[in-house]
Amino acid sequence: MKAKYLLPLAVFLVLVGFLAAGLKLNPREVPSPLIGRAAPAFTAPYLIDPAVIDLAVKPNAEARKDLAPMEFTPQELMGKVWVMNVWASWCAPCREEHPLLLALQRQQVAPMVGLNYKDQAAQALSLLQRYGNPYSVSITDTDGRIGMDYGVYGVPETYVVDKQGVIRLKHIGALTADDVQRKLLPLIAELNKS
């Protein structure tokens, strides 16, 4: 008989559980359909002349043969695990994750492609000059067309692409130290092994 009166309480607690879990979820983290699919191809103009930066990435001559000298295509990174970070000078959260990106670059974890999204080159460049350049490849997406193909909707976003050119991770919003340690680094290490 007692159990009968505890039932509403139990139902209530279950409901509280669901609501508590719901509060912790991030509604912006929409699962991307691009995970497990080939990274969309594109050609993008460089923001910084690759000759100026000491490139950890040696451009793949075969992939470059139809390209203008100041253009980049992800094909060049085929066979490498690489990271693409979508950023803009107008984006405040991008500055939060900036030190983490710089650290990643110092550790030479993977080639870092910085896609400067819907931004002005002068402002982007001055920001990189002031705070440091974490990118081994800096390219621009002035009209947001490349971003559209990658399903970008909340800058900053970070992608990890494997050796076969398949997107393995999409992180929406600024990276935290925890994200880097728990998600990014283990995944890159694992992908580099295979």
Binding site: P93, G151, Y153
Partner: protein
């Protein structure tokens, strides 16, 4: 945390990352003098007329409705079915965020290429997932979403029927001594049928 922090503000055209009203930046406090504006307009006109070929990629804001009402109507009906990812509770048709502007322009371009509505929806889903659809497709990951309410209703109706049935089967509890006493009084007085008002229990 990302640049889409405040959906409401974003949807009204405010861009938190730029820290300004993106669409209205030209209207901020200090306006250029009328002469300056006229000169600017004349210059713009000159530039436009120099490049006789209109280039759609220049268009930033929605093109005027009158230009192609049929296409705009089609765009609107399509954009109503799509969610704006920046302002997640707004449709692509209603949102004023930068991304929604871009996507509407892209949809227009796809329409001009002669793509069907299905192809355009597929274009959106392949980039942003089923989440962009206000009416998600029925598949293994969404069956709970589609059937959940009906399952819950069935459970509710089942429980209700069970309770009602059990209640009907329950034997009447014997009257308490007070009820017994009242009953006696009532029975005694009941010879003239309308003499006593019905007791409220």
């Amino acid at each position: 945390m990302n640049c889409a922090l405040s959906p409401v503000a974003l949807c009204l055209g405010w861009s938190p990352c730029k820290g300004e009203w993106g669409i209205r930046s030209s209207m901020r406090s200090v306006m250029p003098s009328v002469v300056q504006r006229l000169v600017l307009m004349a210059l713009c006109l000159a530039v436009v007329t120099v490049f006789l070929q209109p280039n759609p990629s220049w268009a930033k804001e929605a093109e005027p409705l009158a230009q192609d009402p049929v296409m705009e109507a089609r765009l609107n009906s399509l954009a109503e079915q799509l969610r704006c990812l920046v302002c997640q509770n707004e449709s692509l048709a209603g949102s004023r965020s930068d991304l929604a502007l871009d996507l509407r322009r892209e949809i227009r371009a796809l329409m001009r290429q002669g793509q069907t509505d299905e192809q355009i929806l597929a274009f959106m889903v392949s980039r942003y997932g089923d989440f962009v659809l206000y009416k998600p497709p029925v598949k293994s990951t969404t069956w709970l979403l589609w059937t959940g309410p009906f399952v819950l209703m069935l459970i509710g109706v089942g429980v209700l029927l069970l309770v009602l049935k059990r209640r009907r089967l329950l034997p009447e509890p014997p009257p308490t001594p007070e009820q017994q006493a009242r009953l006696q009084v009532l029975l005694k007085n009941s010879t003239p049928p309308t003499s006593t008002p019905p007791p409220s229990t």
